[in-house]
Symmetry: C2
Subunit: 349 residues, 2 copies
């Protein structure tokens, strides 16, 4: 063990290190795109402003690329082996954000205009497609014997991702209560597909590219899926009780938009008297104003929805830890995974 | 040689036979989608009306799946080996039509509403993504040693496809004449990417899945690309001079929309006196009315644009034939390719 690894890295340091490792390959991949798509990619990745102007915007945390890198190292491989997988999952994540913003009509992303607001819907659809294609291509061209299995993993994750987005979109038209109401377990299925699949895929891809045995790949994949569900529960908590200064979104943003998220669904299914009052408030079906959103947040908390979402996050965090415990992994990488994972769940923005 | 193959099949018979061969796998693949996406896919593939109502709409010709099947047979393989490739290319074609209609604002497709008109833009973006993911997944899971190479082929074609669509969209904002005008060779590059890549990929995938040597795969890919450029030139001719009864589009439809297609660009670059009058007419930049569109069509013809597009189609058809001649292929499949390819170019709708 060298001196540099004896002091345990913090989660932000781990994320930074992985991002730096992957960055040259990411730049190279984006450079293979049509210039128009390269510009849209640079904007979406936070490397550039609109019209290619320099000055980076806020970048994503790079969770998926970090999971890929740590997955490879945990499987006893070299961090570099994970790079095509890390590039692929970050590109897929970026593609999905671009298309999701179109579908959800979200006008901002990381405190800047969403790509479709900045460049138009058609170009944003196409730029998303270009990143999707680039991700598949990057992984298909990965050297080493793990490539084909890695492509199969990515393909399955892509299928799950679009399934989760369909589930989420269909929740919108379902009632808050009574027959047809969205139940918490359906929400968990959606989150497993929409958020868990790509995080699970990221960790699995790294291991797969490093030639890990199937049991290790599966354990990392399952751990990543649990992290995804926990991550989504935290996202939902922040969408209601997050600090606008940190999240960059208005206070109670998910409630104002009447978004069906875990804390609300858990509250409504709790059988608590506050649940009926919450149901009446939400079923009025007009976007909530300041006062109504505050009242809804209070009722969700009273009915136990906030506590249920916190419990959901912690249960899936614990499940992820168990997955990492049940297979032999390189100790330093396992430690870094165990540093990173709770950080993602304890985040405030 | 059995009795059934001694009588040469016609092009429609070849297309029908290939469609029937691929159909069960296509149905199975679509059945793996989220029900919402399966419905959108069935609508887009012409199997169903909106809201899942039975009664099929007009289906595509299935050119891509036929090329995949014939590619496998030409390489000495079994038609069945091509099926995962045939499914993948048809799914990618369907995805690209769905997204292209959104980008181009085209409201109808095969005499029915475009998917985005029938289901909304967001759901259509997602349904396209779902078909894209399904295509990659179908090919990634293909049995046999040719799978990984086939995935690499598809990935490259996808990259070319989005590049071609970007080129095409950017043509819109360029002038008809002077510096910055779109030149015929740029149009050919766009068509090679946008139309040629997937047709080339289709033929190559079939051969690749059948275990063909690289020279055969390459020859079939190049042949398919040439067919694509020829196909696009014919599409452009039909977009101006096609019979609305057959094409299902209004007369002069591409001219009314001021679309930069090969006959127009060839006419404008011809140095003929009619080209200047055409330029003035088109540069007025208002969508053309009946009279102006007729006048533009006449000027294009006078300046030689129509003849140039016909020549373009025939040159690329001849080039495709040369590609098929320069490698050893199974004779019956080569004959069917040589029946199918001119049929695609001689079509009237």
């Amino acid at each position: 063990m060298t001196l540099s690894t004896t002091r345990r890295a913090s989660a932000p340091q781990i994320l930074d290190r992985c991002r730096e490792l992957v960055r040259p390959a990411m730049v190279e991949a984006v450079g293979r795109l049509h210039p128009w798509h390269a510009e849209a990619a640079a904007f979406s990745l936070g490397w550039r402003g609109t019209d290619g102007e320099p000055g980076p915007g806020s970048q994503g945390k790079g969770v998926r690329q970090a999971l890929a890198v740590l997955g490879a190292r945990a499987a006893g491989g070299d961090a570099a082996e994970a790079v095509p997988g890390a590039v692929a999952v970050e590109l897929i994540h970026t593609f999905s954000l671009i298309h999701d913003d179109i579908m959800d009509g979200d006008e901002t992303r990381r405190r800047r205009p969403a790509l479709w607001k900045a460049y138009g819907t058609g170009p944003a659809v196409l730029a998303g497609d270009a990143l999707f294609a680039l991700a598949v291509s990057t992984l298909a061209e990965a050297p080493g014997p793990g490539g084909p299995a890695a492509v199969r993993h990515l393909a399955r994750a892509l299928g799950d991702l679009v399934r989760g987005q369909a589930q989420d979109l269909l929740f919108e038209s379902r009632p808050w209560s009574g027959p047809g109401a969205v139940l918490p377990h359906e929400y968990r299925s959606m989150a497993t597909h929409k958020t868990g699949s790509l995080l699970g895929c990221a960790a699995a891809l790294g291991a797969e590219l490093a030639g890990a045995p199937e049991a290790v790949v599966e354990a990392l994949e399952l751990a990543g899926r649990h992290v995804g569900v926990a991550f989504q529960a935290v996202d939902d908590l922040l969408g209601i009780w997050g600090d606008p200064q940190v999240t960059g979104k208005p206070v109670h943003s998910d409630l104002r938009r009447l978004k069906k998220t875990y804390p609300v669904l858990a509250a409504l299914s709790a059988g608590h008297p506050a649940a009926r009052r919450l149901d009446a408030l939400l079923s009025s079906a007009v976007p909530l104003d300041d006062l109504a959103a505050q009242r809804a947040a209070d009722l969700i908390e009273e009915a136990g929805g906030r506590a249920a979402a916190v419990a959901e996050a912690h249960e899936h965090l614990a499940a992820a830890r168990l997955c990492l415990d049940r297979v032999p992994l390189a100790e330093d990488a396992r430690e870094e995974l165990l540093t990173l994972v709770p950080y993602l769940v304890d985040r405030t923005g």
